[in-house]
Subunit: 246 residues, 2 copies
DNA sequence: CACGATTATATGTCTAGACATATAAGTCAA
DNA sequence: TTGACTTATATGTCTAGACATATAATCGTG
């Protein structure tokens, strides 16, 4: 067909056709030229405009629908979606990676590590009912020898039995878990507190200074993996999140 | 072809074939049966296993690749990706919607609203160099008559001229912007501070109590829209984020 | 053994059809 | 006017091919 030779033109644009279609539409939406609720051209119209088959425009539109930029309705057409909420992609890499990425020297101290049968408090924190074995860890992360965060963690050994063999004096539990327990899900709760005596000492800040607290509860396939609470000195540490309207 | 009749079986599974393929592979990855680095079957093998055309398995694999669950390499095959970071989808709806969703009564008070030519401090905060007009707003949100957050916002009128006509005594600026300036991008910085005199009074908390601070810088197509700083009482408010390993 | 050229192969994109399906819109009767 | 039925249509999924392209593997040569 003729299109093949069109694509074979030496000065042809680099991106493939469906990507160009997607980008064209995306641009019109993002600039506001096509506001929320606007019906974008039907597939057969786009076929004519771009001189391509339906599968090609369908691929472009499907990806836009997957990204929630448009909504597709049978018989009615495709419409620019109204933004309902802001959703952030907040990268919380493991702390070692985070510090290393900042070009700072990572330091780690294990404060306490003990294996025990889950207490009722442990079970409540992990959200499990059976009293299996757990590992409780307290440790501290530092950047350029300045305290960066203190960590208080519980690992459910019935979900991650391999953790019994890990050496948490050498490797931070967050890094170990990230590399040994892939594809977890988690729920984070972020709050602010003032430093108590114990936290202040560990972070080398004043009692009463603000701290950012992250509680992370992690599971894999409905099984609890770990629960962790991180204290960051609030005046120096910041979580940065890039958002995308949607 | 025979597949059509297979799909037409009255007791056939509801989801379409490519979705079934995608789910099958996703399940194996999420359960750890196929660990990171594992090469998943070639397209022609999946074609044989599911008795379908290459486009169908390709669609399933493409979506998995888009979701960063697998990595596809020409000539080599498709591989389960190693999780590098945790990415959170942190929903920060506009505050009115957030409070309403909690089933609480939303209250709003405009504290101060003035229009002015951007000062150098304003320009620095918005990240613009030209001295256009801006709107500076201070307001407070409450839930069930309890202070929920105080807001300090700057809107760039050269990007959003319609904002000049908005009535921010009636409608919170966040809600107004969300509905009138779709498809923005934003960067959030979350930190913790202790309440100063002014903030303590506005939030009805003690001086020195912890506060969660969110700085949000919003733009659309390379143009600054607004910069806002929100103070939340840290002991009562929590940001919750669902995460997905990846 | 090192290194450049060749080849085989898996993915990337695309076509020109097809039938399925949800549903907006129109039609008709009560 | 209202509700039930029919129809038209846009999307959803799928096929059986095709050529393009990046690159792992092989081969041959110095």
């Amino acid at each position: 067909m003729s299109l093949a030779s069109d694509r074979a033109k030496p000065n042809a644009a680099k991106p493939t056709l469906y990507k160009r279609i997607r980008l064209d539409i995306e641009t019109r939406i993002l600039t506001g030229e096509w506001p929320p609720g606007h019906r974008i051209p039907f597939e057969h119209q786009l076929m004519a405009r771009y001189r391509c088959s339906r599968m090609t425009v369908n691929k472009a539109l499907s990806e836009l629908a997957q990204a929630d930029l448009i909504e597709r309705r049978r018989r009615a057409g495709s419409f620019v979606r109204r933004p309902q909420h802001m959703s952030a992609v907040l990268k919380i890499a493991d702390i070692r990676a985070e510090i290393t990425a900042l070009g700072r020297a990572y330091g780690y101290q294990l404060i306490d590590c003990r294996r025990r049968t889950a207490t009722s408090a442990d079970r409540a924190r992990l959200g499990v009912s059976t009293a299996g074995k757990v590992i409780a860890i307290a440790c501290r992360h530092s950047a350029d020898n300045v305290p960066f965060a203190v960590e208080d963690r519980l690992i459910d050994l019935s979900t991650v039995p391999e953790a019994a063999k890990a050496d948490f004096a050498r490797e931070p539990p967050g890094s170990w878990l990230l590399h040994h327990v892939p594809w977890t899900e988690a729920e984070h709760t972020i709050s602010a507190v003032v430093a108590d005596d114990h936290t202040a000492k560990a972070l080398d800040i004043a009692v009463g200074a603000p701290c950012l607290v992250i509680d992370r509860y992690t599971w894999r396939s409905a099984r609890t993996v770990t629960a962790v609470r991180l204290h960051y000195p609030g005046e120096t540490h910041r979580l940065v999140a890039r958002f995308k309207g949607g």
